[in-house]
Protein backbone atom coordinates (compact mmCIF):
# COMPACT_ATOMS: atom_id res chain seq x y z
CA UNK A 1 0.00 0.00 0.00
CA UNK A 2 1.35 3.40 -0.87
CA UNK A 3 1.09 6.35 1.44
CA UNK A 4 -1.95 7.81 -0.26
CA UNK A 5 -3.90 4.58 -0.04
CA UNK A 6 -2.85 4.23 3.57
CA UNK A 7 -4.11 7.68 4.47
CA UNK A 8 -7.39 6.94 2.73
CA UNK A 9 -7.65 3.63 4.54
CA UNK A 10 -6.92 5.04 7.98
CA UNK A 11 -9.34 7.94 7.63
CA UNK A 12 -11.93 5.62 6.14
CA UNK A 13 -11.74 3.32 9.12
CA UNK A 14 -11.91 6.32 11.41
CA UNK A 15 -15.11 7.38 9.70
CA UNK A 16 -16.43 3.86 10.01
CA UNK A 17 -15.64 3.83 13.72
CA UNK A 18 -17.39 7.13 14.29
CA UNK A 19 -20.44 5.76 12.52
CA UNK A 20 -20.43 2.73 14.80
CA UNK A 21 -20.12 5.06 17.76
CA UNK A 22 -23.02 7.18 16.51
CA UNK A 23 -25.19 4.10 16.22
CA UNK A 24 -24.56 2.83 19.70
CA UNK A 25 -24.44 6.03 21.74
CA UNK A 26 -27.60 7.19 23.45
CA UNK A 27 -26.57 10.53 24.94
CA UNK A 28 -26.89 13.44 22.57
CA UNK A 29 -23.84 15.44 23.65
CA UNK A 30 -21.28 12.78 22.75
CA UNK A 31 -23.24 12.16 19.57
CA UNK A 32 -22.74 15.75 18.54
CA UNK A 33 -19.04 15.38 19.21
CA UNK A 34 -19.10 12.19 17.19
CA UNK A 35 -20.66 13.78 14.14
CA UNK A 36 -18.29 16.73 14.44
CA UNK A 37 -15.37 14.32 14.57
CA UNK A 38 -16.66 12.44 11.56
CA UNK A 39 -17.00 15.67 9.60
CA UNK A 40 -13.55 16.71 10.71
CA UNK A 41 -12.10 13.40 9.51
CA UNK A 42 -13.79 13.89 6.16
CA UNK A 43 -12.48 17.42 6.05
CA UNK A 44 -8.97 16.07 6.57
CA UNK A 45 -9.55 13.50 3.86
CA UNK A 46 -10.78 16.17 1.45
CA UNK A 47 -7.85 18.37 2.36
CA UNK A 48 -5.47 15.51 1.68
CA UNK A 49 -7.10 14.80 -1.69
CA UNK A 50 -7.08 18.50 -2.54
CA UNK A 51 -3.39 18.64 -1.76
CA UNK A 52 -2.46 15.56 -3.77
CA UNK A 53 -4.71 16.42 -6.70
CA UNK A 54 -4.12 20.18 -6.56
CA UNK A 55 -7.84 20.74 -6.70
CA UNK A 56 -9.28 24.06 -5.58
CA UNK A 57 -12.78 22.58 -5.57
CA UNK A 58 -11.81 19.92 -3.10
CA UNK A 59 -9.99 22.40 -0.90
CA UNK A 60 -13.11 24.54 -0.84
CA UNK A 61 -15.16 21.50 -0.02
CA UNK A 62 -12.77 20.58 2.78
CA UNK A 63 -13.08 24.03 4.31
CA UNK A 64 -16.85 23.94 3.91
CA UNK A 65 -17.16 20.52 5.48
CA UNK A 66 -15.12 21.48 8.49
CA UNK A 67 -16.72 24.89 8.90
CA UNK A 68 -20.34 23.90 8.49
CA UNK A 69 -20.64 20.33 9.65
CA UNK A 70 -17.84 20.17 12.21
CA UNK A 71 -18.39 23.61 13.71
CA UNK A 72 -21.61 25.44 12.86
CA UNK A 73 -24.19 22.67 12.90
CA UNK A 74 -22.77 21.04 16.07
CA UNK A 75 -22.89 24.49 17.67
CA UNK A 76 -26.54 24.94 16.69
CA UNK A 77 -27.35 21.46 17.92
CA UNK A 78 -25.69 22.12 21.26
CA UNK A 79 -27.78 25.23 21.67
CA UNK A 80 -30.85 23.17 20.91
CA UNK A 81 -29.93 20.76 23.64
CA UNK A 82 -29.81 23.55 26.14
CA UNK A 83 -33.36 24.40 25.14
CA UNK A 84 -34.60 20.83 25.29
CA UNK A 85 -33.23 19.24 28.40
CA UNK A 86 -35.41 16.20 27.99
CA UNK A 87 -33.77 15.44 24.70
CA UNK A 88 -30.37 14.95 26.25
CA UNK A 89 -30.71 11.23 26.18
CA UNK A 90 -32.71 8.75 24.24
CA UNK A 91 -33.77 6.29 26.89
CA UNK A 92 -35.03 3.52 24.75
CA UNK A 93 -31.89 3.61 22.66
CA UNK A 94 -29.83 3.34 25.82
CA UNK A 95 -31.37 -0.04 26.51
CA UNK A 96 -30.61 -1.36 23.09
CA UNK A 97 -26.94 -0.60 22.68
CA UNK A 98 -26.06 -4.18 21.85
CA UNK A 99 -28.82 -4.38 19.28
CA UNK A 100 -27.87 -1.09 17.69
CA UNK A 101 -24.18 -1.91 17.56
CA UNK A 102 -24.81 -5.32 16.03
CA UNK A 103 -27.35 -3.90 13.61
CA UNK A 104 -24.78 -1.33 12.53
CA UNK A 105 -22.20 -4.01 11.91
CA UNK A 106 -24.71 -6.18 10.08
CA UNK A 107 -25.85 -3.26 7.94
CA UNK A 108 -22.24 -2.44 7.12
CA UNK A 109 -21.62 -5.99 6.01
CA UNK A 110 -24.77 -6.13 3.91
CA UNK A 111 -23.97 -2.78 2.32
CA UNK A 112 -20.46 -3.94 1.57
CA UNK A 113 -21.78 -7.17 0.09
CA UNK A 114 -24.16 -5.27 -2.18
CA UNK A 115 -21.36 -2.96 -3.20
CA UNK A 116 -19.10 -5.91 -3.87
CA UNK A 117 -21.72 -7.58 -6.04
CA UNK A 118 -22.62 -4.55 -8.11
CA UNK A 119 -20.21 -1.67 -8.04
CA UNK A 120 -16.84 -2.98 -6.92
CA UNK A 121 -15.37 -3.75 -10.36
CA UNK A 122 -15.92 -0.17 -11.50
CA UNK A 123 -14.59 1.51 -8.40
CA UNK A 124 -11.13 0.28 -7.49
CA UNK A 125 -10.30 3.22 -5.20
CA UNK A 126 -9.16 2.37 -1.70
CA UNK A 127 -12.18 2.02 0.52
CA UNK A 128 -14.61 2.80 -2.29
CA UNK A 129 -17.27 0.79 -0.48
CA UNK A 130 -17.09 3.02 2.60
CA UNK A 131 -19.24 5.91 1.34
CA UNK A 132 -21.93 3.43 0.45
CA UNK A 133 -21.61 1.81 3.85
CA UNK A 134 -21.81 5.22 5.50
CA UNK A 135 -24.95 6.06 3.55
CA UNK A 136 -26.60 2.91 4.81
CA UNK A 137 -25.45 3.72 8.36
CA UNK A 138 -27.08 7.12 8.15
CA UNK A 139 -30.31 5.60 6.90
CA UNK A 140 -30.21 3.02 9.66
CA UNK A 141 -29.77 5.75 12.22
CA UNK A 142 -32.73 7.66 10.85
CA UNK A 143 -34.81 4.52 10.94
CA UNK A 144 -33.90 3.29 14.41
CA UNK A 145 -33.83 6.52 16.41
CA UNK A 146 -36.73 8.57 17.62
CA UNK A 147 -34.93 11.57 19.10
CA UNK A 148 -35.20 14.51 16.74
CA UNK A 149 -31.65 15.69 17.27
CA UNK A 150 -30.30 12.21 16.71
CA UNK A 151 -32.24 12.02 13.48
CA UNK A 152 -30.60 15.24 12.37
CA UNK A 153 -27.31 13.52 12.97
CA UNK A 154 -28.40 10.57 10.88
CA UNK A 155 -29.12 13.01 8.10
CA UNK A 156 -25.74 14.68 8.54
CA UNK A 157 -24.12 11.29 8.33
CA UNK A 158 -25.82 10.70 5.01
CA UNK A 159 -24.58 14.03 3.82
CA UNK A 160 -21.09 13.07 4.91
CA UNK A 161 -21.47 9.90 2.89
CA UNK A 162 -22.31 11.93 -0.19
CA UNK A 163 -19.31 14.20 0.28
CA UNK A 164 -17.14 11.17 0.84
CA UNK A 165 -18.40 9.48 -2.30
CA UNK A 166 -18.03 12.63 -4.35
CA UNK A 167 -14.48 13.12 -3.15
CA UNK A 168 -13.48 9.53 -3.69
CA UNK A 169 -14.79 8.59 -7.08
CA UNK A 170 -16.46 11.51 -8.75
CA UNK A 171 -14.17 14.35 -7.78
CA UNK A 172 -14.91 16.14 -11.05
CA UNK A 173 -18.65 15.89 -10.44
CA UNK A 174 -20.05 19.11 -11.86
CA UNK A 175 -21.85 21.39 -9.43
CA UNK A 176 -20.68 19.20 -6.60
CA UNK A 177 -19.60 22.09 -4.43
CA UNK A 178 -22.89 23.83 -5.14
CA UNK A 179 -24.85 20.72 -4.26
CA UNK A 180 -23.01 20.39 -0.98
CA UNK A 181 -23.53 24.06 -0.17
CA UNK A 182 -27.19 23.53 -0.91
CA UNK A 183 -27.33 20.51 1.36
CA UNK A 184 -25.61 22.48 4.10
CA UNK A 185 -28.11 25.29 3.77
CA UNK A 186 -30.87 22.75 3.92
CA UNK A 187 -29.29 21.24 7.02
CA UNK A 188 -29.10 24.60 8.75
CA UNK A 189 -32.67 25.45 7.77
CA UNK A 190 -33.82 22.08 8.96
CA UNK A 191 -32.09 22.36 12.29
CA UNK A 192 -32.68 26.02 12.80
CA UNK A 193 -36.21 26.75 11.65
CA UNK A 194 -38.11 23.57 12.32
CA UNK A 195 -36.49 22.86 15.65
CA UNK A 196 -36.98 26.37 16.93
CA UNK A 197 -40.64 26.32 15.90
CA UNK A 198 -40.97 22.95 17.50
CA UNK A 199 -39.60 24.37 20.72
CA UNK A 200 -42.23 27.11 20.74
CA UNK A 201 -45.10 24.91 19.73
CA UNK A 202 -44.79 21.61 21.47
CA UNK A 203 -42.30 21.61 24.26
CA UNK A 204 -43.26 18.03 24.99
CA UNK A 205 -41.40 14.83 24.23
CA UNK A 206 -42.01 13.88 20.65
CA UNK A 207 -42.04 10.25 21.70
CA UNK A 208 -45.71 10.87 22.50
CA UNK A 209 -47.47 9.47 19.49
CA UNK A 210 -49.59 12.08 17.83
CA UNK A 211 -52.88 10.38 17.43
CA UNK A 212 -53.95 12.56 14.55
CA UNK A 213 -51.03 11.48 12.44
CA UNK A 214 -51.63 7.78 12.79
CA UNK A 215 -52.97 5.54 10.08
Amino acid sequence: MDTSAEVLALIGVGVLLTSLFLQSESFVDPLINGIALQSLLLGVLLGWLAWTEHSVDLALLAGLTVAVRAVVIPYVLRRQIRAFRWRIREVHAANRVTGHALAAVAAAIVAWFVFQQTLAPSFPETGAALPFVLLVQGLLMLATRSNTLVQVMGYLEEENAIVYAGALFASAFPLFVEVVIFLDVLGVVLVGVILSIQRDVTGTPEEVVLEELSG
Binding site: L10, L20, S24, I109, G127
Partner: protein
Protein backbone atom coordinates in the same frame (compact mmCIF):
# COMPACT_ATOMS: atom_id res chain seq x y z
CA UNK B 1 15.74 -31.92 19.02
CA UNK B 2 18.02 -29.17 20.12
CA UNK B 3 18.46 -29.54 23.90
CA UNK B 4 18.86 -25.76 24.30
CA UNK B 5 15.42 -25.29 22.87
CA UNK B 6 14.01 -27.86 25.26
CA UNK B 7 15.46 -25.85 28.08
CA UNK B 8 14.04 -22.64 26.61
CA UNK B 9 10.69 -24.31 26.50
CA UNK B 10 10.91 -25.27 30.15
CA UNK B 11 12.17 -21.80 30.96
CA UNK B 12 9.10 -20.32 29.35
CA UNK B 13 6.76 -22.55 31.33
CA UNK B 14 8.64 -21.65 34.51
CA UNK B 15 8.39 -17.96 33.64
CA UNK B 16 4.63 -18.17 33.37
CA UNK B 17 4.33 -20.27 36.47
CA UNK B 18 6.58 -18.17 38.66
CA UNK B 19 6.20 -14.66 37.35
CA UNK B 20 2.43 -14.58 37.04
CA UNK B 21 1.89 -13.99 40.79
CA UNK B 22 4.43 -11.20 40.60
CA UNK B 23 2.48 -9.50 37.80
CA UNK B 24 -0.66 -9.71 39.92
CA UNK B 25 1.25 -8.30 42.89
CA UNK B 26 2.64 -5.39 40.90
CA UNK B 27 -0.81 -4.66 39.55
CA UNK B 28 -2.35 -4.65 43.02
CA UNK B 29 0.41 -2.44 44.35
CA UNK B 30 0.15 0.03 41.46
CA UNK B 31 -3.57 0.19 41.86
CA UNK B 32 -3.20 0.89 45.55
CA UNK B 33 -0.79 3.63 44.66
CA UNK B 34 -3.38 5.38 42.47
CA UNK B 35 -5.79 5.19 45.37
CA UNK B 36 -3.25 6.86 47.70
CA UNK B 37 -2.80 3.68 49.63
CA UNK B 38 0.50 2.06 50.30
CA UNK B 39 -0.85 -1.31 49.26
CA UNK B 40 0.42 -4.78 49.84
CA UNK B 41 3.91 -5.91 48.93
CA UNK B 42 4.33 -6.89 45.32
CA UNK B 43 5.20 -10.35 46.61
CA UNK B 44 1.93 -10.69 48.46
CA UNK B 45 0.51 -13.22 45.95
CA UNK B 46 3.44 -15.54 46.74
CA UNK B 47 2.71 -15.26 50.45
CA UNK B 48 -0.95 -15.94 49.78
CA UNK B 49 -0.04 -18.92 47.70
CA UNK B 50 2.22 -20.31 50.39
CA UNK B 51 -0.54 -19.86 52.91
CA UNK B 52 -3.16 -21.58 50.75
CA UNK B 53 -0.90 -24.51 50.00
CA UNK B 54 -0.31 -25.12 53.67
CA UNK B 55 -3.99 -25.18 54.58
CA UNK B 56 -6.27 -28.18 54.54
CA UNK B 57 -8.79 -28.57 51.78
CA UNK B 58 -12.50 -28.87 52.47
CA UNK B 59 -14.97 -30.37 50.06
CA UNK B 60 -18.67 -29.53 50.21
CA UNK B 61 -21.09 -32.34 50.90
CA UNK B 62 -22.49 -33.84 47.76
CA UNK B 63 -19.73 -32.66 45.47
CA UNK B 64 -18.01 -35.14 43.24
CA UNK B 65 -14.43 -35.69 42.14
CA UNK B 66 -14.86 -32.98 39.57
CA UNK B 67 -14.65 -30.47 42.39
CA UNK B 68 -11.10 -31.56 43.09
CA UNK B 69 -9.93 -32.56 39.64
CA UNK B 70 -11.18 -29.55 37.70
CA UNK B 71 -8.81 -26.93 39.17
CA UNK B 72 -5.89 -29.26 38.53
CA UNK B 73 -6.95 -29.87 34.93
CA UNK B 74 -7.24 -26.13 34.41
CA UNK B 75 -3.80 -25.68 35.95
CA UNK B 76 -2.35 -28.22 33.55
CA UNK B 77 -4.09 -26.57 30.63
CA UNK B 78 -2.62 -23.19 31.41
CA UNK B 79 0.81 -24.76 31.73
CA UNK B 80 0.29 -26.35 28.33
CA UNK B 81 -0.60 -22.99 26.84
CA UNK B 82 2.54 -21.63 28.46
CA UNK B 83 4.77 -23.83 26.32
CA UNK B 84 3.09 -23.18 22.96
CA UNK B 85 2.53 -19.41 22.58
CA UNK B 86 5.15 -16.74 21.98
CA UNK B 87 6.12 -15.46 25.40
CA UNK B 88 9.86 -15.24 25.67
CA UNK B 89 10.93 -16.11 22.13
CA UNK B 90 10.07 -14.56 18.76
CA UNK B 91 10.79 -17.91 17.08
CA UNK B 92 8.77 -21.09 17.49
CA UNK B 93 9.90 -23.25 20.38
CA UNK B 94 9.72 -27.04 20.08
CA UNK B 95 6.15 -27.50 21.31
CA UNK B 96 4.75 -24.47 19.53
CA UNK B 97 3.48 -26.43 16.49
CA UNK B 98 1.15 -28.34 18.81
CA UNK B 99 -1.53 -25.71 18.47
CA UNK B 100 -2.20 -22.61 16.42
CA UNK B 101 -4.08 -19.49 17.45
CA UNK B 102 -7.41 -21.22 17.39
CA UNK B 103 -6.02 -24.11 19.40
CA UNK B 104 -4.79 -21.67 22.00
CA UNK B 105 -8.25 -20.18 22.17
CA UNK B 106 -9.74 -23.63 22.59
CA UNK B 107 -7.33 -24.40 25.43
CA UNK B 108 -8.37 -21.22 27.21
CA UNK B 109 -11.94 -22.32 26.66
CA UNK B 110 -11.22 -25.75 28.10
CA UNK B 111 -9.69 -24.27 31.23
CA UNK B 112 -12.67 -21.97 31.63
CA UNK B 113 -15.12 -24.82 31.12
CA UNK B 114 -13.61 -27.14 33.72
CA UNK B 115 -13.42 -24.31 36.25
CA UNK B 116 -17.07 -23.81 35.59
CA UNK B 117 -17.73 -27.49 36.22
CA UNK B 118 -16.01 -27.21 39.57
CA UNK B 119 -18.12 -24.21 40.46
CA UNK B 120 -21.34 -25.99 39.52
CA UNK B 121 -20.29 -29.16 41.25
CA UNK B 122 -19.95 -27.30 44.53
CA UNK B 123 -23.71 -27.08 44.65
CA UNK B 124 -23.80 -23.63 46.21
CA UNK B 125 -26.08 -20.86 45.01
CA UNK B 126 -23.27 -18.34 45.01
CA UNK B 127 -20.91 -20.35 42.86
CA UNK B 128 -23.75 -21.27 40.54
CA UNK B 129 -24.56 -17.59 40.20
CA UNK B 130 -20.94 -16.82 39.44
CA UNK B 131 -20.88 -19.62 36.90
CA UNK B 132 -24.06 -18.51 35.18
CA UNK B 133 -22.83 -14.94 34.97
CA UNK B 134 -19.53 -16.02 33.53
CA UNK B 135 -21.24 -18.15 30.94
CA UNK B 136 -23.75 -15.51 29.92
CA UNK B 137 -20.96 -13.07 29.21
CA UNK B 138 -18.68 -15.66 27.72
CA UNK B 139 -21.41 -16.20 25.16
CA UNK B 140 -20.57 -12.72 23.92
CA UNK B 141 -16.85 -12.80 24.58
CA UNK B 142 -16.06 -15.99 22.75
CA UNK B 143 -17.41 -15.05 19.33
CA UNK B 144 -15.24 -11.98 19.66
CA UNK B 145 -12.21 -14.12 20.36
CA UNK B 146 -12.96 -16.28 17.33
CA UNK B 147 -13.33 -13.24 15.09
CA UNK B 148 -10.08 -11.84 16.44
CA UNK B 149 -8.42 -15.07 15.35
CA UNK B 150 -9.99 -14.74 11.93
CA UNK B 151 -8.65 -11.22 11.62
CA UNK B 152 -5.17 -12.30 12.61
CA UNK B 153 -5.34 -15.18 10.19
CA UNK B 154 -6.43 -12.78 7.45
CA UNK B 155 -3.53 -10.43 8.05
CA UNK B 156 -0.85 -13.07 7.89
CA UNK B 157 -2.50 -15.80 5.91
CA UNK B 158 -1.74 -18.31 8.66
CA UNK B 159 -3.01 -18.96 12.14
CA UNK B 160 0.42 -19.01 13.64
CA UNK B 161 1.09 -16.35 16.29
CA UNK B 162 4.83 -16.45 15.62
CA UNK B 163 4.27 -15.48 12.00
CA UNK B 164 2.08 -12.61 13.13
CA UNK B 165 4.80 -11.44 15.47
CA UNK B 166 7.40 -11.56 12.71
CA UNK B 167 5.20 -9.76 10.20
CA UNK B 168 4.38 -6.97 12.61
CA UNK B 169 7.97 -6.43 13.63
CA UNK B 170 9.16 -6.35 10.05
CA UNK B 171 6.45 -4.21 8.45
CA UNK B 172 5.29 -0.87 9.77
CA UNK B 173 2.46 -0.71 7.29
CA UNK B 174 1.16 -4.03 8.53
CA UNK B 175 1.30 -2.69 12.05
CA UNK B 176 -0.51 0.50 11.10
CA UNK B 177 -3.06 -1.26 8.93
CA UNK B 178 -6.61 -0.54 10.12
CA UNK B 179 -7.30 -4.24 10.46
CA UNK B 180 -4.48 -4.67 12.92
CA UNK B 181 -5.33 -1.56 14.91
CA UNK B 182 -8.95 -2.58 15.22
CA UNK B 183 -8.19 -6.14 16.13
CA UNK B 184 -5.73 -4.92 18.75
CA UNK B 185 -8.39 -2.70 20.24
CA UNK B 186 -10.90 -5.54 20.24
CA UNK B 187 -8.43 -7.89 21.87
CA UNK B 188 -7.60 -5.28 24.49
CA UNK B 189 -11.28 -4.90 25.39
CA UNK B 190 -11.48 -8.65 25.62
CA UNK B 191 -8.37 -8.74 27.77
CA UNK B 192 -9.96 -6.35 30.23
CA UNK B 193 -13.07 -8.51 30.36
CA UNK B 194 -11.24 -11.82 30.63
CA UNK B 195 -8.86 -10.74 33.35
CA UNK B 196 -11.65 -9.25 35.42
CA UNK B 197 -10.71 -5.60 35.27
CA UNK B 198 -12.86 -2.51 35.29
CA UNK B 199 -15.20 -1.56 33.69
CA UNK B 200 -16.40 -5.15 33.50
CA UNK B 201 -15.65 -6.49 36.91
CA UNK B 202 -14.49 -4.98 40.14
CA UNK B 203 -12.31 -7.28 42.15
CA UNK B 204 -12.78 -7.20 45.88
CA UNK B 205 -15.34 -8.33 48.35
CA UNK B 206 -18.40 -6.92 46.60
CA UNK B 207 -20.05 -10.02 45.24
CA UNK B 208 -22.32 -7.97 43.01
CA UNK B 209 -19.35 -7.01 40.92
CA UNK B 210 -17.57 -10.29 40.66
CA UNK B 211 -17.72 -12.78 37.90
CA UNK B 212 -14.59 -14.92 38.11
CA UNK B 213 -14.19 -14.81 41.87
CA UNK B 214 -17.80 -15.75 42.33
CA UNK B 215 -17.02 -19.22 41.12
CA UNK B 216 -14.46 -19.89 43.82
CA UNK B 217 -16.53 -19.39 46.96
CA UNK B 218 -16.67 -23.06 47.88
CA UNK B 219 -13.01 -23.88 47.30
CA UNK B 220 -10.51 -23.62 50.08
CA UNK B 221 -6.94 -24.44 50.96
CA UNK B 222 -4.80 -25.88 48.19
CA UNK B 223 -7.58 -25.98 45.66
CA UNK B 224 -8.28 -22.31 46.19
CA UNK B 225 -4.57 -21.66 45.86
CA UNK B 226 -4.55 -23.52 42.56
CA UNK B 227 -7.58 -21.61 41.33
CA UNK B 228 -5.99 -18.28 42.23
CA UNK B 229 -2.81 -19.32 40.53
CA UNK B 230 -4.84 -20.30 37.47
CA UNK B 231 -6.31 -16.81 37.39
CA UNK B 232 -2.88 -15.20 37.58
CA UNK B 233 -1.47 -17.45 34.88
CA UNK B 234 -4.40 -16.69 32.63
CA UNK B 235 -3.82 -12.99 33.13
CA UNK B 236 -0.11 -13.36 32.48
CA UNK B 237 -0.67 -15.42 29.35
CA UNK B 238 -3.28 -13.13 27.88
CA UNK B 239 -1.15 -10.09 28.62
CA UNK B 240 1.87 -11.74 27.01
CA UNK B 241 -0.07 -12.68 23.91
CA UNK B 242 -1.55 -9.21 23.72
CA UNK B 243 1.86 -7.61 24.00
CA UNK B 244 3.85 -9.96 21.80
CA UNK B 245 1.35 -10.64 19.07
CA UNK B 246 -0.77 -7.48 18.98
CA UNK B 247 0.40 -4.34 20.67
CA UNK B 248 4.18 -4.35 21.18
CA UNK B 249 5.69 -7.08 19.03
CA UNK B 250 9.16 -5.54 19.05
CA UNK B 251 12.14 -5.87 21.30
CA UNK B 252 12.62 -9.61 21.62
CA UNK B 253 16.04 -11.07 20.89
CA UNK B 254 15.87 -13.53 18.06
CA UNK B 255 19.04 -15.49 18.97
CA UNK B 256 17.98 -19.00 19.86
CA UNK B 257 20.21 -19.15 22.90
CA UNK B 258 19.50 -19.54 26.56
CA UNK B 259 20.89 -16.09 27.25
CA UNK B 260 18.63 -14.56 24.62
CA UNK B 261 15.63 -16.24 26.14
CA UNK B 262 16.65 -15.06 29.60
CA UNK B 263 17.00 -11.48 28.37
CA UNK B 264 13.62 -11.80 26.70
CA UNK B 265 12.09 -12.56 30.07
CA UNK B 266 13.29 -9.18 31.21
CA UNK B 267 12.04 -7.53 28.04
CA UNK B 268 8.65 -9.16 28.49
CA UNK B 269 8.39 -8.06 32.06
CA UNK B 270 9.30 -4.54 31.04
CA UNK B 271 6.46 -4.55 28.55
CA UNK B 272 4.17 -6.00 31.17
CA UNK B 273 5.03 -3.14 33.48
CA UNK B 274 3.98 -0.71 30.75
CA UNK B 275 0.74 -2.60 30.34
CA UNK B 276 0.23 -2.49 34.11
CA UNK B 277 0.51 1.29 33.85
CA UNK B 278 -2.19 1.33 31.18
CA UNK B 279 -4.44 -1.01 33.13
CA UNK B 280 -4.10 0.99 36.30
CA UNK B 281 -4.83 4.20 34.42
CA UNK B 282 -8.00 2.62 33.07
CA UNK B 283 -9.02 1.33 36.47
CA UNK B 284 -8.51 4.75 37.96
CA UNK B 285 -10.58 6.54 35.32
CA UNK B 286 -13.54 4.33 34.45
CA UNK B 287 -16.42 3.22 36.58
CA UNK B 288 -17.83 -0.24 36.62
CA UNK B 289 -20.72 -0.66 34.26
CA UNK B 290 -23.96 -2.21 35.38
CA UNK B 291 -24.10 -5.96 35.12
CA UNK B 292 -26.44 -5.94 32.16
CA UNK B 293 -24.38 -3.30 30.43
CA UNK B 294 -21.47 -5.72 30.25
CA UNK B 295 -23.26 -7.21 27.30
CA UNK B 296 -23.07 -3.82 25.56
CA UNK B 297 -19.38 -3.61 26.34
CA UNK B 298 -18.76 -7.03 24.84
CA UNK B 299 -20.96 -6.17 21.86
CA UNK B 300 -18.68 -3.22 21.25
CA UNK B 301 -15.63 -5.47 21.39
CA UNK B 302 -17.36 -7.84 18.99
CA UNK B 303 -18.23 -4.99 16.64
CA UNK B 304 -14.62 -3.85 16.62
CA UNK B 305 -13.44 -7.35 15.85
CA UNK B 306 -15.95 -7.68 13.01
CA UNK B 307 -14.96 -4.27 11.72
CA UNK B 308 -11.35 -5.35 11.62
CA UNK B 309 -12.28 -8.20 9.30
CA UNK B 310 -14.54 -5.79 7.46
CA UNK B 311 -11.72 -3.29 7.04
CA UNK B 312 -9.59 -6.04 5.61
CA UNK B 313 -12.30 -6.90 3.11
CA UNK B 314 -12.96 -3.30 2.15
CA UNK B 315 -9.47 -1.90 2.10
CA UNK B 316 -7.53 -4.91 0.97
CA UNK B 317 -4.39 -6.47 2.34
CA UNK B 318 -1.89 -4.12 3.95
Amino acid sequence: MDPTQQVVNLLQAATVLLLSPLLAGVLARAKAWTESRRGPSIFQPYFDLAKYLRKETLRPQGSSRAFVVAPLVAFGTYLLIAIVVPIITPYPIPYAPTVDFLGGGLLFGLAGAVTLLAALDAGSNYTALGASRTVSFAAFAEPTLIVVFFAVALITGTNNPYVTNNLLTSSTSAYLAPTHLLVTAAFFLLLLAETGRLPVESAGLMEFGMLEDGRQFEHSGRLLGILRWNGWMKQFLLCSVFLNVFAVPWGMIAQPTLLGAAINIGVLFGKQLGLVGALVAIEATVAKVRLFKIRDYLALAFSLAILSVFAFAVLGAP
